[in-house]
Symmetry: D3
Subunit: 189 residues, 6 copies
């Protein structure tokens, strides 16, 4: 089956895909029921695809002071500021799924301040939002607010890296009109 | 010699470094006369370090429709919008060096519109700046402007990825108060 | 059944409600399966409730050059700029329902530019967005763009009034932390 | 006497006006010496006119925790942020008249922070301004600031509704290039 | 008569004033019926006062491609963007006076786009507004628009200097809470 | 030697220059090794040149509560917000020179928050930045913060005037595409 172009750019996937890539995509199909379009988009450029997967998997799936749900919450809040259709769709679904709370996913997409979160999560999202809107104005006081909310320096590092990452992907997605897989929309409602 | 902390976070480098990392850092010292502080900062977390290096090297050093200088120009313009001290310092130096034109480096740091660039570079930096300020407002017309300026879709992809990347690193650097190596300031003046 | 407070303000509904109001609320329950919280919020103040209902019903339900779907599309786009949780939830559901296209509702909530709309709808939403962000900068050229897209002056009037209305309700909702009924979230997915 | 068009739209008043409307307009002429152009503009569409009048009269003239002057002060401050020529003219005149202080009207039009107001009015206008600029960022702390300044929840409700209303009318006026009656300019100087 | 402090700073006028200054102030009193508070404010610092007067008189009163009214129009539009109470009051009065059109003064204070100006004045104010809001984004195209509207390079120079000057005085006035003389408010209504 | 045009405007220097001006320019050449282009730009208009020089010399070189370095620091921070190529180049060099700290000059150009300054300088630059970005929002609290940091009212006055001045010159320079002398770039690195 030939996937239709996942972005507005005419950059077809390498064909045939390298064996390792094909294997990774087969696992996606098996586990997720789809190959996320972001991966298909990067598959025209295997070095960038591998770098992207390595960074993504480390940030979002590896061990961290932050739970997987918290990392997805950062993803959605950053994407909401940047109004990125792709990332809001894919990571909004992830928040609904990981939290078992569809409404939480909606609130983070629409306006995270509407969600009544615990103080450490408010601190985490406040920092991620400031990084997104006005990173140049971050000072020691902002880092201290995270420490006061219970994060150690490793936690601050992880928040910074996750929030940074989605400021990259949001922009790549919007710059190329990347389209999320239709499957996400109905998930975990 | 023990480097002092490269960020405001108390996250020391893994000690001893993995053999591969140590080798990479030795090459940096040999070739650049220093280990860039961003690498030292990531060296508390080897998986993130490796992912960062892989992505960086692919984007900035591998083959591309864009010259190395053009990629550094994007880096500086994005960092100027985000007012990132680390990246402006390191990549401002790179523009001065690669272009042999110290004034060009200064102009991109201060206000890229002051530089009298050729139309394709104006188009490239206009797109990178819009990605940085208002990525959600990018439409087909913006991509078409790049095509009209002579970029093919691979070139647009590369512009998008480089501009996206510095929107990540600018924010990680500002969020952690990452300090550039002092060596950069006097280079290629 | 006593509804819990629909806003952060302690302003209980008039009890008992005036007969006309009770009848209207009963119709809501029958037709919609709920009394929208915005009506419950206003029901502490019957004159404001009546004024609100009269204006709402005229704008959103009465005859207009604009279809009901188009009016809901304006509602969502305005609410997306203003990041109003209440209105995005309620009117996002309405777009999903009236269009039979759940993805359209999502796209308008997240970033209307991601939706591939016909030119007259693009013109309509461009005008509504400018009214929301920078109404003072609207000039004859903006009105002319609507005429060029096929709207007559009655249509421009209706667009202006619908877009204006949600700039009011978004702000009242956010100012009072108004909460949408939970029923909306799962509707028409 | 045929009034010239009160907006840039070609939407003549219903002719003849419904008896009730004509009576209302006659009262305006008698009491104010003019029919405010906003009413003439809405008179092409009697249902919208009636809804507008009902809401306006309830908000601005009915009983409230807020004095009539305070409601007009909110109107002017909101309109100053939105730079609405119509509303600044009409409600600037109202502030001058109700306060007997022409300079107060001027200061609210130009920059309300220049007026040396009592703390409860500062709190009220700070809230109205935040509603206008950044309603999505309003939190419990903002409502608490109003309570600390002496407003009860009914007062907060009224502030929210008045500030919301002018965010609607400012935008309708600017969207249609609505022109204030010339009479306002010289009033109460 | 001892004037009360014209700013929020406790910086009394030099006493006695230098003979030249006293003479200049006497002429103001005679011609304008007052000593503008900005001059009283600067009179604590005679060198700054003299520099200010020299620059002001050259810019606003000396020969120029621009009429005196046009220079006052720029003053008001710049001050409207910056919301400077002092300058809007004083130069709003000047526009009313020089134009013989009180409404024009009001429109420029409130929203210059509401005034139906001739194309060359629209071009002039568009440039002045862009200088105020986003001077770094001015390019040859903006200067060309002025030339297309009939201004020669001397005219552009004068526009730039007048618009620049009020971006200075607006900020000094707001920074020090400078209060305009009460006389301005009722002038030329 | 005929200097090439220092701006994008075709406004040649008066030729011959008035004797006083020629003498002043000769002193510049002798002391600075160049005639700053801003003076050459103004030399098409001797009255404006004289007013500019008088104001500049009073603000930047005369006695003040502020050191010369502090005044140059304000100049650079204001120019960084406004992204003025001319002023960042010329006054960035001045900060490097007066401080003997090239890195300080760079940091103020790029992001002054990266510099670890003493509290009184942070207060001074915070005020200058707010004057530049949002002068209309300055209140007594902002002036009090300066007093708390050790500035008397004369110091506040001087800060306000220096910060105001560069908000003028930044805009004149950007409006006319004024180019700094090449000599600045390599100075004091």
């Amino acid at each position: 089956m030939t996937p239709k172009q996942p972005t507005a750019l005419d950059l077809p996937m390498i064909d045939p895909l390298p064996k390792e890539t094909q294997k990774y995509f087969d696992i996606c199909t098996e586990k997720l029921g789809m190959i996320p379009n972001v991966l298909q988009a990067y598959a025209s450029d295997i070095d960038k695809l591998n770098a992207f997967i390595a960074m993504y998997n480390d940030l979002m799936l590896a061990d961290s002071v932050l739970s997987k749900l918290e990392r997805e919450m950062i993803a959605v809040v950053v994407s909401s500021v940047n109004k990125c259709f792709y990332c809001l769709t894919a990571h909004g679904a992830a928040v609904r799924q990981l939290s078992g709370n569809p409404k939480l996913g909606e609130m983070l997409v629409m306006n995270w301040r509407a969600a009544r979160l615990e103080p450490s999560q408010v601190a985490m999202l406040t920092f991620a939002e400031k990084m997104t809107r006005a990173s140049a104005e971050i000072t020691d006081a902002d880092r201290q607010a995270l420490r006061d909310a219970g994060f150690n320096d490793r936690g601050i590092w992880d928040i910074a890296n996750v929030a940074g990452f989605f400021n990259m992907t949001n922009r790549v997605a919007s710059a190329t009109d990347m389209r999320p897989n239709d499957e996400y929309h109905a998930q975990a409602r």
